[in-house]
């Protein structure tokens, strides 16, 4: 089932961050997920206020789906990370985990699923 999370780029270093109950977190699994569109829009308004506080740039919402181990090995083989939720759009997958061509760069380095 698709849900929404709010994401932005951190002002100081451009790092991808996610909205969680009024603050920003690094990992998509830790983000507040919205099933209610109105609640998401309300949270996005709050997130936009963080722009004025010099916390982030350009917040917006994205769709995420839960991902099981079976799916994991297919859909996210390019990143080899452990994550319970992944973005629907591949562009957001790359933002969430890092470049698919440098697996030791980006958040994937901290979320690495060991090769088996």
């Amino acid at each position: 089932m698709q849900q929404r999370v709010i994401t932005a780029s951190r002002l100081q270093d451009g790092c991808v961050v996610y909205w969680r109950d009024g603050a920003w977190v690094l990992f998509i699994d830790e983000a507040t997920r919205f099933t209610d569109v109105k609640k998401c829009e309300g949270a996005l308004q709050q997130a936009e206020e963080a722009v004025g506080r010099q916390e982030v740039v350009s917040p917006y919402w994205i769709e995420v789906v839960p991902i099981g181990d079976d799916e994991f090995n297919g859909g996210l083989a390019s990143h080899r990370v452990t994550s319970k939720w992944v973005p629907v759009r591949y562009r957001e997958v790359i933002r969430a985990f890092g470049p698919s061509v440098h697996l030791h760069f980006g958040k994937q380095a901290l979320l690495r699923k060991e090769d088996t």
């Binding site: 780029s9 270093d13 562009r91």
Partner: protein, 554 residues
């Protein structure tokens, strides 16, 4: 090489100091993102998918060993230990922090470098033939011309807010190695009837979503008129170029709209007006004479007959070295010297990427063996313009140790490839993984040599940073309902006989695109006649035979 004078030095240091203040005000909230964005872009700083990206200018692609070492230092201190050389002869760092950028600009200023003119709607970093001052077929050295244009255009008040970005390239040889026909202005150095050097001015070329081959506005412009004429072109563009539509704002759209004849009439009219004024900004001839002093040839070493014999013997003794010499070494104008291309396209690697370790090692070799000069080519390779033939064997062995000795210059694995969706906020598909897969598929060097000259160019979106419009095989990544697809065009070329590729048919899904390229190559090998290159065969046959094979099973 050009060396900064007191004005250059003051300019880049003041720029770094100014940006430090702007960053501080942004972080404190005195500047909004809307206000700050044009300021950071004027300093080459973009916000990409994972972090900020800093694009550093390498004017006309020329670096000293000191500068290359500093680029390695920046890669280690502020990034993740590598940099990416681009098709604009720049270098990009992908993991930059906003708050550290002013420090980077100061480190760059220490070695006479900066990030000015690498973004924004200004005249961008001037590019030139990477064999400048070395190639045997050179009419004149394009570097003094490029440097004069750099000095004239930097912070030019009239041309700092153009309708859109503006790219100038200069070629000094009969063979165009700077892709001058697909730039906003391309300058080719030619000889006039009196055998003086003159300028062929090509305007309105470009790639992006609406590609054009440029139109020649002047076949033989006297060098002394160069800046007046460029000023006239830019003034016409500034006045008549569209500002209401981002996608129609480049000069190529204006030239296409007016037609080359009317564009020339307007430019000539403006040029004559400028010539009549008494306050022409720069005495070009005097400036060129001054600048030529910075680009005098190095002091050539004595070359003995024994040196030449040894070089020939090394070629005969070592087949791998011989292969590299045949592909990556070009004729130098000075007897006993050579131009060596350092491939940043080891099959399976990332095109244009160099680690800080590689950069430092190359800097050391450049200082010791290459008259302290190394170049960045628009094809994302590095070049030693002046090396003794007698040193080539040792240099090649060093390159082997650095994994930079692929003998693939101009071959199928020597691909241009943009960063694509792995880094770029504009991209619609990944390009690097595709280039890697193609590199692995075609890595056999015997096979590459059998295929011969074949240039694949890959872009991850319609903006065409990967030059796919002028690839013999051009590949454009597109997003189709969330899936990566790749559209192929054939027959593009960036040289003297430039041409734009023609789309061959519907795009291929990611898992079919490498096989599709294989089919194209197999078709070429089957159809080529005699010593035809891929481009020759395609120009003889067109798209149909390739299309038939590619979509045969549909």
């Amino acid at each position: 090489m050009y060396r900064y004078d007191e004005f250059d030095d003051k300019m880049v240091r003041e720029r770094a100091r100014q940006f430090r203040g702007q960053v501080a005000r942004r972080l404190q909230g005195a500047l909004s993102e809307e206000e700050f964005k044009p300021l950071r872009l004027m300093n080459g700083l973009y916000l990409q998918l994972h972090a900020y990206m800093l694009r550093v200018a390498i004017p006309y692609g020329v670096l000293s060993s000191l500068q290359l070492r500093q680029l390695a230092h920046i890669a280690d201190k502020y990034d993740k230990g590598y940099g990416h050389f681009t098709t604009r002869q720049n270098i990009q760092y992908n993991w930059i922090k906003l708050e550290e950028t002013p420090d980077i600009l100061e480190d760059l200023a220490d070695v006479e470098m900066h990030a000015i003119q690498t973004s924004g709607n200004c005249i961008r970093n001037v590019t030139a033939d990477h064999f400048a001052g070395a190639s045997a077929d050179e009419i004149d050295d394009p570097r003094p011309y490029s440097e004069l244009i750099r000095q004239w255009s930097t912070f030019h008040p009239e041309f700092s807010f153009l309708p859109r970005k503006f790219k100038i390239a200069v070629s000094g040889s009969a063979e165009d190695r700077a892709a001058i026909k697909v730039h906003d202005i391309g300058i080719g150095l030619v000889r006039d009837k009196q055998n003086n050097v003159a300028l062929r001015i090509i305007v309105g070329g470009g790639q992006g979503r609406t590609p054009y081959i440029g139109a020649t506005l002047h076949e033989c412009l006297p060098v002394g008129d160069m800046l007046d004429y460029l000023e006239a072109i830019l003034r016409v563009y500034n006045q008549w170029g569209r500002r209401d539509n981002l996608f129609k704002a480049r000069i190529k759209i204006l030239v296409a709209h007016l037609g080359a004849e009317e564009m020339k009439r307007r430019v000539d009219e403006e040029w004559q007006r400028i010539r009549k004024t008494s306050n022409r900004a720069v005495d070009v001839d005097a400036s060129m004479a001054r600048l030529r002093g910075y680009f005098t040839p190095p002091t050539w070493a004595q070359v003995s007959a024994q040196d030449s014999k040894e070089f020939q013997a090394q070629c005969q003794k070592d087949e791998a070295f011989s292969l590299w010499v045949r592909r990556n070494v070009a004729a130098h104008r000075q007897k006993g010297y050579a131009i060596a291309t350092i491939s940043l396209k080891t099959p399976g690697s990332i095109a244009g990427d160099a680690t800080s370790h590689q950069m430092r090692a190359l800097a050391d070799l450049t200082e010791t063996y290459a008259h302290d000069e190394i170049r960045v080519s628009h094809e994302q390779n590095l070049v030693w313009p002046h090396v003794r033939e007698a040193d080539l064997y040792h240099l090649w062995q060093e390159l082997v140790g650095l994994d930079l000795a692929s003998p693939n210059n101009g071959l199928i694995t020597d691909m241009i490839c943009c960063p694509g969706m792995d880094y770029c906020a504009l991209a619609t598909a990944r390009s690097i993984p595709l280039a890697q897969r193609l590199g692995v598929r075609f890595q056999d060097i015997q096979r590459q040599n059998d295929i011969g000259e074949l240039k694949i160019k890959i872009s991850g979106c319609i903006n065409a940073c990967g030059h796919h419009h002028v690839g013999h095989i051009g590949i454009l990544g597109v997003d189709r309902r969330g899936e990566e697809y790749y559209q192929i065009s054939l027959g593009g070329h960036a040289g003297d006989d430039a041409s734009l590729g023609q789309i061959v048919g519907p795009a291929f899904p990611s898992d079919k695109i490498v096989d599709a390229v294989e089919t194209i190559v197999a078709t070429y090998l089957q159809k080529r006649q005699g010593k035809e290159r891929f481009l020759d065969t395609w120009r003889r046959l067109g798209n149909d035979v390739f299309k038939e094979r590619l979509y045969a099973s549909d």
